[in-house]
């Protein structure tokens, strides 16, 4: 081997062309497709910020060093990570690069006529011959026409082709996938998604400050929120008396579509959201909000209102915190609430049914610094008692009140709360249309067979043969039908 092997000079454009050809090749697309499946796996095994941020912070506490590495590799945000995005962007470029040229080719091919009848039919598959009686070519042409074949007529032969729908369906399927991705992109750019917890009797006004959490698409502004209001009139939950499993949730609301519009009474269920234009409101979760009034030593009200508690089990034992930052000193009630009170085997308070049969509010009272001004974000359901001192602990039923050294607390009543998810996704109809066309394209491409049939009548002999692309079965039967017609049997 000599060292001075000539490497052909391809230049920059040649290089780009080379990579483009590699990227749009079937093999690369296949590898990318499998890579995408592989890359999606970690997101289903490792907790994700987008789906379950609580589980992610738990993970950080349990596996500190591993979590840091996971974080660096975007393993807590797999589906928005650079490497996941890189794979699907490459895949879609590859897809576009493959589908567009093929579409043009197919467009031209669909106007073209089938190729000429081969010279030696005897060498083709499904070959048959028999003595001619005269009008076979006429019968053949009519049969081809009736069965919607494309036909090229020769002097003593006819060449017919059918099944272009296969490629049409194939291309439609791939173009539809691109449309789905466009829908996802539009949703990501122009969508809004947020949630708000509302206790029964409260009113939601659709502006950014009313939300507990809200995220805007990359080019959406706060002004795009439609100005509707929703008042939570009543929430009814029905549970199975044996298993405590929920059987029905119904939310009754009064809505005003825009300022000045007539109020409308509406019903929301888990599978039937409210709709305001392109924005929809979903019933997501629910729980109980005890209504409490806290007074200071003099009797002035320092806190009043419903406080949403977070359910912990199927019988809705819930935890929560009542924070009174305006008193002196600040007060905190580390609380739990049970809708149907019972004493557990370890003497703790448990709930035995999710409905309000024997509601009880249990709490310990703390005084000191709630730590609300420290700037560290706090859970609304928990209190950081590190700078506080416990005064007492007790429990109340609705209507009861308790006096303690720094004032009093009254457990007025308890009402349900609901978590509403408010979503605007202008891209979803594109994705839906894409999905429907993808299935249609798939059906057409998988169940259409492209095939050719030839007939030649020469020297007193009829010759018939056929060819199926990809060796698709069924041509034999079609040809035998064709022959039966020709022979008049």
């Amino acid at each position: 081997m000599s060292n001075d092997t000539q490497i052909p000079e391809i230049g920059a454009i040649g290089l780009i062309r080379y990579f483009w050809r590699q990227l749009t090749s079937m093999r690369t697309a296949l590898v990318l497709l499998l890579l995408l499946a592989l890359a999606a796996i970690p997101g289903s095994l490792i907790p994700q910020n987008a789906q379950n941020p609580m589980a992610v912070s738990d993970y950080f506490e349990k596996h500190k060093t591993l979590a840091i590495w996971f974080e660096r590799l975007s393993l807590f945000d797999v589906y928005s990570s650079p490497w996941f995005s890189a794979i699907y962007i490459l895949l879609f470029i590859s897809l576009i690069g493959c589908v567009l040229p093929r579409s043009f080719e197919h467009l031209q091919a669909s106007r073209a006529l089938p190729p000429k009848t081969p010279k030696n039919l005897a060498r083709m598959e499904h070959f048959q011959s028999w003595p001619a009686t005269g009008n076979e070519l006429e019968i053949a042409k009519n049969w081809f026409k009736a069965n919607r074949f494309r036909v090229l007529e020769g002097e003593e032969s006819v060449s017919a082709e059918k099944g272009y729908l296969r490629e049409t369906g194939n291309l439609l399927f791939h173009i539809s996938l691109i449309l789905i991705l466009i829908g996802v992109l539009i949703g990501g750019l122009f969508g809004v998604r947020g949630s708000a917890i509302l206790s029964q009797g409260e009113r939601f006004v659709n502006n950014a400050t009313s939300y507990d959490t809200i995220s805007f698409g990359q080019i959406t502004s706060e002004n795009s929120l439609p100005p509707f209001t929703i008042k939570v009139d009543n929430f009814v939950a029905k549970y199975n008396t044996l298993t405590s499993a929920p059987e029905d949730y119904t939310l009754y609301v009064t809505t005003v579509a825009e300022p000045g519009a007539a109020p409308k009474e509406q019903v929301v269920k888990v599978n039937s959201p409210l709709t305001f234009g392109s924005t929809r409101v979903y019933l997501q979760a629910n729980g109980y909000s005890p209504i409490v009034t806290v007074r200071d030593k003099v009797g002035n009200v320092t806190f009043q209102g419903p406080v949403p508690f977070l359910p912990q089990d199927a019988n809705l034992r819930s935890i929560g915190s009542i924070k009174v930052p305006d008193g002196d000193p600040q007060l905190g009630f580390v609380s739990s609430f049970v809708p149907t009170y019972a004493r557990g085997s370890d003497k703790s308070s448990i709930s035995v049914f999710p409905e309000l049969l024997d509601p009880k509010l249990l709490f310990s009272i703390w005084q000191g610094d709630l730590g609300l001004d420290s700037g560290v974000p706090q859970s609304v359901y928990r209190i950081d008692t590190s700078k506080m001192k416990q005064i007492t602990l007790d429990s109340l039923r609705p209507g009861e009140f308790l006096k303690f050294s720094e004032g009093s607390i009254t457990f007025e009543d308890v009402v349900p709360w609901v978590n509403l998810q408010i979503v605007s996704d202008p891209g979803k109809s594109y994705s839906l249309v894409g999905g429907i066309f993808a299935i249609l394209g798939l059906l057409a491409s998988l169940f259409t067979k492209r095939r050719r049939i030839w007939i030649r009548v020469a020297e007193g002999e009829v010759q018939v043969a056929g060819l199926a692309k990809n060796g698709a079965p069924g041509l034999e039967i079609e040809i035998s039908e064709f022959v039966t017609k020709l022979r008049g049997k």
Binding site: L34, L36, G43, S44, Q48, A50, T243, A245, E247, G435
Partner: protein
């Protein structure tokens, strides 16, 4: 009849179906084993070569009995699934016990439907034992009393999404069994001629084609099932796609089968490579069913476990 009566009837029907599948399994095993004929004169010790032959004529009766048992088992299973639904006045797809019995129904149904067109009775031994194991696991480990649906499942989409997912699963698994049979027989043929009992199995080429056609047939249905799920998720959860573990694995299964179809149609994969890819794709479906239902988190936690 009261809800409880229907539930009892359903359990009896499931137990009966299990008994019938057991009989079918033994009948299939019997006819596979006894169709192998050993000549009486043969004697290995004297150096006479034992030439076994395959003669399924001898065991035709056992074969017919086996198929009859499969059909009866299918009917009892159908009764079990339908009465389970009647006991709760809803479609019987509310928890993993119900998914499993319906899945076994779809699997045996796919086998019996394919039987009308192809002679697949050699598969009966595998199909009957798989159905039996699925039902056994369902009734011992997964059983939950019949109860109404949780609010999130109360939707017409339950019928559409879950039924298509179960049918797709049944057919995917059948294709998997056939691919596994392909690989097993291919290994056997590499070492020499097929063993006598394996002579009745179709040629490798037929197996290869069959598993491909099953997948190609059911892939659009699976696509539809995923899209129907997305439409339902939009109306129940406020987003049509959220990378929930179940959704992620449904997507992985979809991608894996899409790769399989491309590999066959466009790149021209056949035989061993295609069979392995088919098995890989099928195992992602099984993983989704077992792991995500039982240990997984996310929004698809309806297993009732």
């Amino acid at each position: 009849m009261s809800a409880q009566d229907w539930a009892y009837l359903s359990n009896y029907a499931i137990y009966s179906a299990m008994a019938l599948f057991t009989l079918a399994f033994f009948a299939h095993a019997f006819e596979t084993a006894w169709a192998v004929r050993t000549p009486i004169a043969a004697d290995e010790t004297k150096g006479n070569l034992v030439t076994k032959t395959f003669d399924s004529f001898r065991t035709q009766k056992a074969m017919r009995i086996a198929t009859a048992m499969m059909i009866l088992g299918f009917i009892f299973l159908l009764v079990g699934v339908v009465t389970r639904g009647l006991s709760a006045s809803r479609v019987p797809w509310g928890n993993m016990y119900e998914f499993s019995i319906t899945g076994a129904l779809a699997f045996t149904g796919a086998y019996l439907a394919a039987l009308r067109k192809y002679d697949l009775r050699w598969l009966g031994v595998i199909v009957s034992i798989s159905a039996l194991l699925t039902l056994g696991t369902a009734i011992t480990l997964l059983y939950v009393p019949s109860a109404p649906l949780v609010p999130a499942l109360k939707s017409t989409w339950l019928v559409i999404h879950v039924s298509t997912a179960i049918i797709s699963g049944g057919v995917f698994l059948l294709a998997n069994v056939i691919s596994a049979a392909y690989l097993y027989l291919d290994n056997m043929e590499k070492k020499g001629p097929r063993k006598v009992w394996a002579q009745r199995f179709p040629t490798l080429e037929v197996l290869d084609q069959l598993s491909y056609r099953l997948v190609a047939f059911v892939f659009p249905l699976w696509t539809f099932s995923v899209i129907a799920g997305a439409i339902w998720a939009e109306s129940a959860w406020g987003r049509y796609w959220g990378w929930d573990p179940k959704e992620t694995w449904a997507f992985i299964t979809w991608v894996a089968y899409a790769a399989y179809l491309h590999a066959r149609v466009t790149v021209g994969w056949r035989g061993r490579r295609a069979a392995w890819l088919c098995l890989l794709a099928g195992s992602t479906f099984l993983f989704n069913y077992v792991y995500v239902n039982v240990w997984g988190t996310g929004k698809h936690t309806y297993s009732g476990l």
